[in-house]
């Protein structure tokens, strides 16, 4: 199962890149993530609770970042075991490119499942993976730039002291 999509983020590529490498961001953005510990270099241990069709399970496993091209591309891959529910694994190749007013983040996601999830939930796996990817990158976008706003979003630097909501990540790093 593979899918590709992209998001335009109103933040500079360096900001986006920093967010990708930040475990706190990963933890917030992975839907259902209960814990995530570790480092970019060593990889992360994660626990994620998800419901795939009729099967709800707590997946434990590892998340790794690889194929890193600093500031431009990274592969985020993960593999989790859900006990009797089976396993899920997948990854996203993420690429960043500077565009006017921000960064275009494009991603190719691939996912596969095994065991009971595959046997009982195969009909909905594709939809599920798409939803997971959408949710992950939407959360990521929100974390970096703040939620969608009716006002035209402020370009970075203009927001000082203004009403424009900042993404929590930007508040965190004070950008």
């Amino acid at each position: 199962m593979q899918l590709t999509d992209s998001k335009d983020i109103k933040a500079a590529p360096e900001t986006v890149w920093a967010a990708i490498l930040n475990p706190e961001v990963l933890k917030e953005c992975v839907p259902g993530c209960e814990s995530l510990t570790g480092s970019v270099e060593e990889g992360f241990e994660a626990a994620v609770v998800q419901k795939v069709g009729p099967v709800k399970a707590r997946f434990t496993g590892v998340v790794k970042l690889s194929d890193i091209e600093i500031g431009r591309a990274v592969r985020i891959s993960g593999e989790g075991k859900g006990g009797p529910a089976g396993f899920a694994k997948g990854g996203a190749m993420v690429r960043l490119e500077a565009i006017e007013g921000g960064t275009r983040l494009s991603y190719e996601v691939e996912a596969s499942v095994g065991g009971k999830i595959a046997q009982l939930g195969s009909r909905i796996i594709e939809g599920f993976a798409k939803k997971m990817a959408d949710e992950f990158f939407t959360r990521f976008q929100e974390a970096v730039e703040g939620p969608e706003d009716d006002e035209p979003a402020a370009v970075e630097g203009e927001a000082e002291g203004g009403e424009v909501k900042k993404g929590w990540f930007k508040r965190l790093i004070g950008a």
Binding site: P84, F87, S112, G114, A118, Q119, R123
Partner: protein, 790 residues
């Protein structure tokens, strides 16, 4: 008119009283004192190397009694293949060991590598979830063409190209067949897939191992179609338990369709666990486990070619098939796509030259073996589809092309070019009966009515033959069988005249308890109600080979008749003694032994009583007792045949196919119970329609089974099948068994799939979609719609 309960009567099935009132006693219903529960841990990956299995945490959990892994069974034997099939170049068949539990590698999703035994099911399940297996996932081999092409990726490390054998039949005919094709005026070529099916018996598999430390006897209660064969396999090949120390009991069994012929590792595991714990150990499969681990059926990819004269006369036929055997060889996986398939490729036709090539291929999928029809549905589908396609290409009427090529009623016994001798048949008669019964003449009128409702109507035919009554031991032995295929019966007349018949056949839905009693009742002239049929317990029944291949009546029934004949012969001796007459003057009729030409007679009951109260027997010439056994080995297969017509309506906008009618004109030889025969045909055709329209087993590229529940695997429901019109009045009695019977259990599933697909293609052609030449099964709405929209 037949008597109410004799041969030919539609006696209601006596077993249904218990089945329909919840009084059946299936393996899962049996609970032994102090039993523990087993849960199997199954692979989630299709192909992987087992590095280690950590059972420590699981073993410490509450209620856990034992955990066994593949390593615990490494030193016992494997579950063998029951039939040797050599390659056409003489190479030996590749037979990888099939262990009780996977060891070293896991080879399909659902491959069991450990078993947990605990006090309760919940405790066993919890502990199973705590087992940590370190398995390195390997690339899955799912597609047969890839399996053969990729020499480096192997299901079994020692088997190159994943090929079990590459079989040619008959090799000596190959050159002549090729020559006929080279010079043929017309050749029709069709590539097709015979879709993989999950058997889906209503009762999932279940086994209870019960070791008695006092006597050192083992007992296995299990869902089997052939308890003696299971006992033999466990004793002689797998666990080495002496046969006399192992009793196998297959109590009520809720359907098998082939999937319960085979011995499975779970049976050996519960026996071993019971011995280890000195407690009974019970396992009942969940439905998901059945999907993953029961032997599947069919799964052929075939190229078939038919060479013809321009007038439609068949000249030669050849096929190339890849048959999936899955990850391990199930007991009859090698014979199903070969000697039960290739030998049927002449069909009911006079085709003078036939050559069949079958490659059996290992893949990382569940084992594939015989499933209702076993090889003959695959043969029939290929033949009947290519015949229809040839008729289209040559613009010949589909009835006429068949009639022209059917073997004539005066040509029997008929020797086919693929090694069988059809003893008797009348294929024109069943075709004529079909034309009349199905009102084929009225089809055009019905087609216009359908058209008025916006539907495309199609008519599909299938003239089929099969070989069943499996099987003559001498013949199958010469072809590579490692078993005999006789059957056996013991008839015990009790002192009060009631009778127990112990049969080697096994009833798992067929109605043997009723039909066998009818046969014995008729022969002995006593009421069927005083006859009981005993089956399924190796400690009670003689060594018989069980039920499959539509063999029960033709083979086990014949053994029963032989035993009854011995009872009559013994009865005559007793009557001669009692009536002070010569044995040669005693006649047996209507349940009475009488002295010919006199009114001196003894009833069957009097003879029985005398046999057990032999106060004045001349013991040197007359033994007490009235009990006889017989073994029967058939002289040939039996060859049921018939003609089927299916009418469908296709909604060209949605691709939805509705079966409007289905008509069957069968020749099953003599019919013992027409109601049961009709029921068997209904069930078989229902399964055939299921295969043709609905059922498909789908593995993804990683070898994950995607159709592993009834949400994804479409079983036929009542609304998917029509009211059937069934006839079996065209009788040519089998020439070589005493009842003249042929077998009807698989016919419907063999003859029906091509009739359905032929009807769909016919509907589309008539509707103007002439580009549609073939649609693979299941002919789902999306496939039909895609075919229409090209």
């Amino acid at each position: 008119m037949p008597k109410d309960d004799g041969i030919g009567a539609s006696t209601k099935r006596r077993e249904d009283i218990r089945f329909l009132t919840g009084k059946g006693r299936y393996t899962a219903d049996i609970n032994l004192r102090d039993q523990a529960i087993a849960v199997f841990v199954r692979s989630e990956v299709a192909h992987g190397r087992i590095n280690s299995i950590d059972t420590a945490a699981a073993a410490a959990m509450p209620g856990v009694l034992a955990i066994m892994t593949g390593a615990d069974f490494a030193s016992v034997g494997g579950n063998p293949a029951g039939w040797y099939v050599a390659s056409r170049d003489g190479a030996t068949m590749k037979e990888p060991k099939r262990p009780v539990l996977a060891h070293g590698k896991v080879r399909h999703v659902g491959d069991a590598y450990a078993v947990v035994v605990a006090e309760t099911l919940e405790q066993a399940k919890d502990a199973a979830a705590a087992i940590e297996a370190d398995i390195t996932e390997l690339p899955a081999i799912v597609n047969m063409a890839d399996a053969v092409a990729n020499a480096d990726n192997r299901v079994h490390d020692e088997i190159e190209n994943n090929v079990c054998f590459d079989w040619g039949w008959i090799e000596d005919n190959r050159a002549a067949v090729d020559a006929a094709f080279a010079s043929a005026p017309h050749v029709t070529t069709l590539e097709l897939v015979n879709n993989r099916l999950v058997p889906n018996a209503m009762e999932p598999r279940a086994s209870i191992g019960d070791y008695d430390p006092g006597t050192q006897d083992y007992k296995l209660y299990t869902t089997s179609q052939n308890p003696h064969l299971t006992r033999l396999l466990i004793a002689a090949f797998v666990l080495g338990i002496p046969e006399n120390k192992l009793t196998v009991i297959a109590p009520d069994v809720g359907g098998g369709f082939g999937s319960k012929i085979y011995h499975y590792g779970e049976e050996a595991a519960v026996l071993a666990a019971s011995k280890a714990l000195n407690r009974p150990v019970k396992w009942v499969a969940e439905r998901s486990e059945s999907f993953l681990s029961d032997a599947h059926g069919r799964d052929h990819v075939t190229k078939i070619q038919l060479a013809l004269e321009k007038d439609g006369t068949f000249l030669a036929l050849r096929t190339e098939t890849m048959a999936n055997v899955g990850a391990y060889l199930s007991n009859f996986a090698t014979v199903t796509p070969t000697f039960l398939h290739g030998t049927l490729m002449a069909g009911p036709y006079k085709t003078p030259l036939v050559y069949v090539n079958v490659k059996a291929v290992f893949t990382n999928t569940a084992p594939v073996d015989a499933y209702r029809g076993a090889g003959r549905p695959e043969a029939t589908f290929s033949i009947e589809r290519v015949v229809d396609m040839a008729a289209d290409e040559l613009e010949i009427d589909k009835v006429e092309i068949r009639r022209k090529n059917l073997i004539g009623a005066d040509q029997f016994p008929y020797t086919t070019p693929v090694g069988l001798v059809y003893d008797i048949g009348n294929y024109q008669a069943t075709l004529d009966k079909l034309i009349e019964l199905g009102d084929l003449a009225g089809f055009e009128k019905r087609a216009s009515e359908s058209k008025a409702r916006g539907k495309l109507r199609g008519l599909g035919l299938s003239t089929w033959i099969e070989a069943c009554g499996i099987a003559p031991s001498a013949l199958v032995g010469a072809l590579g069988a490692r078993v005999g295929l006789f059957d056996a019966a013991t008839v015990r007349v009790n002192a009060t005249g009631s009778i127990s018949v112990m049969t080697g056949a096994h009833s798992h839905g067929q109605g043997h308890e009723t039909v066998f009693a009818q046969v014995v009742a008729e022969r002995l002239g006593i009421p069927a109600t005083s006859i009981d049929i005993v089956h399924g317990d190796t400690s009670k029944i003689p060594f018989g080979m069980g039920s499959y291949g539509s063999r029960s009546l033709a083979v086990a029934g014949s053994a029963m008749v032989k035993a009854v004949d011995k009872i009559i012969a013994k009865g005559k001796k007793i009557a001669a003694h009692m009536l002070e007459a010569s044995e040669n003057d005693i006649v047996f009729e209507d349940g009475k032994f009488s002295v010919t030409g006199t009114d001196k007679a003894k009833t069957f009951g009097e003879i029985a009583f005398s046999a057990y109260v032999p106060h004045n027997y001349p013991l040197e010439t007359l033994e007490p007792g009235l009990e006889e056994s017989a073994f029967y080995d058939p002289a040939n297969f039996t060859y049921p045949a018939g003609a089927y017509a299916c009418e469908v309506e296709v909604d060209a906008e949605t691709g939805q196919v509705t079966v409007a009618s289905f008509t069957c004109a069968d020749d099953f030889g003599n019919v013992m119970n027409p109601m049961i025969v009709e029921g068997q045909v209904h069930g078989g055709v229902g399964q055939g329609i299921g295969q043709a329209l609905l059922e498909n087993t789908s593995y993804d590229e990683n070898g994950q089974l995607l159709t592993a529940s009834y949400m994804d695997y479409a079983m036929p429901r009542t609304t998917d099948v029509p009211f059937y019109t069934v006839d079996h009045s065209c009788v040519t009695a089998c020439t070589h068994n005493p009842l003249g019977v042929k077998g009807c259990g698989e016919a419907g599933a063999i003859g029906s799939p091509p009739a359905v697909v032929n009807a769909v293609v016919d509907a589309l052609q008539r509707g103007g979609y002439t580009h549609v030449k073939h649609i693979d099964m299941p002919v789902s709405p999306s496939r039909v719609w895609s075919a229409i929209n090209g």
